[in-house]
């Protein structure tokens, strides 16, 4: 049995795909975060960071996703932000 199992490695089923998609959908549903609110958060982040450095606003990506909690096995929602920096100039100018 094991021999055959190794010979034909089992592909993960679509059930786990469904579960992962569902988790992500529910995180967004439960966060009750409308696209407008996400846009507002994004603009505020741009305003704050722009005080210190030049960032690529077009490439900025923020979304609500999930991560493994450090204290338990539960997944917890996480605000993910990818903010490409164009230039650190402003910081140097300040100091």
């Amino acid at each position: 049995m094991n021999f055959f199992a190794n010979l034909f490695p089992k592909k993960p089923g679509t059930g786990s795909v469904a579960k992962d998609r569902l988790k992500l959908v529910l995180i967004n549903d439960r966060a009750n975060c409308s696209p407008q609110i996400m846009e507002m958060i994004k603009n505020d982040i741009i305003n704050v960071i722009s005080k210190y450095m030049e960032i690529d606003e077009g490439e900025l990506d923020i979304q609500i996703t999930e991560t493994q909690s450090e204290n338990s096995d539960m997944s917890v929602p996480m605000l993910y932000a990818n903010i490409p920096i164009k230039n650190m100039r402003k910081i140097q100018n300040r100091t």
């Binding site: 679509t14 059930g15 469904a18 998609r21 569902l22 959908v25 529910l26 549903d29």
Partner: protein
């Protein structure tokens, strides 16, 4: 000590009406005086699932509008003398009732019955608000699909907001063969995601279709696997600790052989 349960799901077509019919019949068989209320005004179905469509004279809206007394509108089941149906109106719409009127109706039903089961319409609008208005407890029905579980999650949130605490889950239409192959979410997957107590799991079974064809709920069919699941659910509702059955289909030839070898060897 009567209890009012609402059977709800958010998404349509997951088996609310079938569940209501089977639990209602199950409780009646167990000896409790039970009434099933079809709250799906305008799209009534519980009557045909129960095979009682030819006996309807008055309906829920008639009772609320005072066109008849409550007892006149209750349709007595033809098989079980302690089972009744309060049918929905087919020609009215959901706005013909409001939550206060439903609360009043549930109060009068409580006086007559041990169990009141309300079959909720799909959706989260007026019909849903009416159906949950008079309920103390909720049963959420879903299937192992992303869309159905998502809607169930939303419904659980709305029930909590309406202060109906600790709803219980029925996972319907499980295909154990597909779960085994990893191509369907399992009961554990769904309960983990919804973090809610499980009342039962019902396998996808031909007997459900056959039962709906004839208008005789499969809970009374001793050979039906779905019927067995509903019998277990009924016993759990009555407070018995019935373990969740292993839904794996063991009737196939290969499985029978495996069983024999397992018994003989190891």
């Amino acid at each position: 000590m009567s209890e009012v349960f609402v059977i709800t799901s958010g998404k349509g077509g997951v088996g609310k009406t079938t569940t209501s019919a089977n639990i209602g019949t199950g409780l009646a068989i167990a000896g409790y005086k039970t009434v099933m209320v079809d709250a799906d005004i305008g799209l009534r179905n519980l009557d045909v699932v129960m095979g009682l469509e030819n006996r309807i004279v008055y309906h829920l809206i008639d009772v609320i509008d005072g066109n008849c007394r409550l007892k006149q509108a209750l349709v007595k089941d033809k098989r079980y003398s302690n089972l009744f149906l309060l049918p929905a109106a087919q020609t009215k719409d959901k706005n013909a009732v409001n939550p206060e009127q439903m609360q009043k109706l549930c109060l009068s039903l409580r006086e007559e019955f041990d169990y009141v089961l309300i079959d909720c319409p799909a959706g989260i609008e007026q019909g849903f608000k009416n159906a949950i208005a008079g309920a103390d407890k909720a049963i959420v029905v879903t299937t192992p699909e992303v869309s159905a579980v998502r809607d169930a999650d939303r419904i659980i949130g709305l029930l909590e907001a309406a202060e109906i605490r600790n709803p219980m889950l029925i996972l319907n239409r499980i295909r154990p063969d597909m779960v085994k192959k990893g191509n369907m979410m399992s009961l554990e997957d769904v309960t983990e995601i919804l973090s809610i107590d499980i009342l039962g799991a019902v396998p996808d079974d031909e007997s459900i279709v056959i039962a709906a064809n004839t208008g005789e709920p499969c809970v009374a069919d001793q050979n039906s696997r779905a019927g067995q699941a509903f019998r277990d659910i009924t016993r759990r509702m009555l407070g018995e600790a019935v373990p969740l059955a292993d839904l794996t289909d063991d009737r196939g030839l290969m499985n029978k052989l495996k069983k024999i070898f397992r018994l003989g060897g190891a």
